[in-house]
Point group: D2
Chain length 247, copies 4
Amino acid sequence: MKTEVFTLPNGSDITLTTYILDTSEEMPNMKIRPAVLVCPGGGYSACSDREAEPVAMAFLAQGYNAFVLRYSVGKGKAAFPRPLEDAEAALELIRMNAGKWSVDKNKIAVIGFSAGGHLAAALAAMGRVRPNAVILGYPCILSSIGDVLVEPVPSITDYVDAKTPPAFIFASSEDTCVPIENSLAFATALDKAKVPFEMHIFEKGNHGFSLATPVVCSNRTALEANRFAKQWFSMCMDWLNNLFAIG
Amino acid sequence: MKTEVFTLPNGSDITLTTYILDTSEEMPNMKIRPAVLVCPGGGYSACSDREAEPVAMAFLAQGYNAFVLRYSVGKGKAAFPRPLEDAEAALELIRMNAGKWSVDKNKIAVIGFSAGGHLAAALAAMGRVRPNAVILGYPCILSSIGDVLVEPVPSITDYVDAKTPPAFIFASSEDTCVPIENSLAFATALDKAKVPFEMHIFEKGNHGFSLATPVVCSNRTALEANRFAKQWFSMCMDWLNNLFAIG
Amino acid sequence: MKTEVFTLPNGSDITLTTYILDTSEEMPNMKIRPAVLVCPGGGYSACSDREAEPVAMAFLAQGYNAFVLRYSVGKGKAAFPRPLEDAEAALELIRMNAGKWSVDKNKIAVIGFSAGGHLAAALAAMGRVRPNAVILGYPCILSSIGDVLVEPVPSITDYVDAKTPPAFIFASSEDTCVPIENSLAFATALDKAKVPFEMHIFEKGNHGFSLATPVVCSNRTALEANRFAKQWFSMCMDWLNNLFAIG
Amino acid sequence: MKTEVFTLPNGSDITLTTYILDTSEEMPNMKIRPAVLVCPGGGYSACSDREAEPVAMAFLAQGYNAFVLRYSVGKGKAAFPRPLEDAEAALELIRMNAGKWSVDKNKIAVIGFSAGGHLAAALAAMGRVRPNAVILGYPCILSSIGDVLVEPVPSITDYVDAKTPPAFIFASSEDTCVPIENSLAFATALDKAKVPFEMHIFEKGNHGFSLATPVVCSNRTALEANRFAKQWFSMCMDWLNNLFAIG
């Protein structure tokens, strides 16, 4: 396994952390691996550690190579479309290095949480380059969510098109930070554009539950509140492995 | 365990089949039980056995008493609101016999599939009497679905109100019989009315997957196609037991 | 679904309660069903309700027909081999009525808990007639367990033979009532006789956890103590359905 | 995340690969982490990649830091107790660097597979230093297994004592390479020494199934054969997290 941090040309603080698993003659069907690009949340004012390395680890354990993007954040810097340009650059870098990094360039998913979900959705629906699957955790989608972000954002629903890849959405309907109408609106847009999708809206779950594991939940109360929502990950892997014909 | 078939005054072919579990001093917390009223699907032209007794059994195994309603179906007979009147009568009968049938009258869920989902949603949103929770499997919701039903139906979304109980919805987005917009529209209406809800939309799954078990799937192909969607039941029990404070 | 109570010729208080699911043209692969014979525990001094109907329900929900045996119990009456004769009579009655009860006579499992596990193991290893699979929950196996039973019992390990059907065993190693050496000894005997088996020994779990569901656990403490052990049932169904080629 | 390879003083080809997760102020309960020492199998003639990095990844995803030991293997070099000395040195190195590597020195489990299971069991029962938990996958335990190993080995059952840490064992009873009597004998020895243990013996499963994921299974046939046995990992984490009071 090899981990490196690359600085993207987009800015001195825009980094892509790569997690590349070893290959082995003993594991012939994983010489070329599917991959995931992770966009942590943080209201476009930061990139949360809770939705960065732990998420990469969850996918690495499933045999995926993983990449964590720390994109443009903060007042001014996060002005759209700068974060989208960062994500496009990251995806291009991964595809360019697919051979070196043992990545199947046609099996790259992007996953984003909250504001990072807005970014992942933007890459999927508006990107100059597109991922092969998109996974959204309690995503910001609509411009109306701008109030909780540092900069205004476009409604991604306006851009969903036939080139948008299959999508997996998860969230909780009691989320008081990002209203569930964001996920519902995105699913409705996908349905209209005939893009295949799966969506799991749990009733219970705090905003930002990430993987809902002991790693990312700092106490029993949080683990308890998110104990049902935690199931998103195994369902996501069922869905993604089926899409990518893994296993 | 005691099973009986009651004919409702609504019509000679309108029946309620009751499944009442034995009580025991050894199981003190299940002397009064939660209950479920099952509305099978069948396009308002029949009541499918695949969504009747097997569904009752799944809930009985969780300690719920169960009731299967065979409501008004067929051209003419199924004209709205006749099926709704049947469901109201069934719910009233259960509440009236709550003592005799060891049912907690404040813990009665209704579950409906497809056209039976339309009926269950109608009972939840329009009923003269209401259940305490509603569970909808790949439900018909919108009047636009009328084409596949024997009689026109109202859009239940027009009636969702503050008295509508918490809802659990499951479906598959690739369903070619009942478009997924039905579930999406109902969830959107619940969200607007501030009714708590949970919704699981799998990408894969044939219309009418019911419990997706060997009992209701007649071959390997069907089991395989519905293997992910099958998870709805355990998530439904998590949700319902949490709502009803069971366990 | 039809439930009846039959008194066996073995004694006026020896009963077999039958739970026969309805058949339907819509469920063609479940016209002839696999079945389970349930032997509740109770130290050969009683038959516990907690390991009777709730267990039948769990199997009914999987499409099995179910039969609960209330066998000879109490000082004197439970003297071996009287309970075994009851179980043999019950199994013969089921096979004799296989056609009427829609049972596949070659797909009949027996399940027993604690002292009922001793009985189920006896039927499997010593019976004049044998079931097609045996499932043992925290079973009494060795004569050394006689102290906690009302009558002495033989060690079933002495009788395991090539005709003993495949076995599934579950228990907890912290059980202070029936020592885990009982399960270990039985598995060792099966291994020596080359009988296929599966065994799940959880560390945590109170004696008599049954299904470890809210139905049979009377409080949160019990549910919490048995939350891991609860997984035996789904693994048991994986194993049994695979053995019986169901699904 | 930081990965390094350390050569142990025991020999130029004895290495410890370290996987140390990043810490973060946002994840306060994972600043000091539990850890796992992984001993791959390979008949004491090699260390299998299939039971090395993929296993480390599975634990990293649960918030554990991980260490893979490549111990003395091959005719002559693997002569007991050389591999045990390697494992002792590895465990000492981890405890010595606990501060630097953010490891809780009282929450270190060792996991071993097949011959690596023999080594892990030896460390747990005979080690000069001992781990805090031991996890054994289809382990070699008895000297009778020597035929399939490059060097004779002692029966670990002879050494189980009160200092042996709690154990988790998993295997399949149809394993034709390492007879299941090895696991049964070890559990029996643990029981006699009153060491807490959990053991899951699946009927189905090929020898060397590792995590039974698409990463380590090279085709559908292998995935299918091991689909039940695959459940060991989540039960192992339930058990280990409970033991280590994680979550």
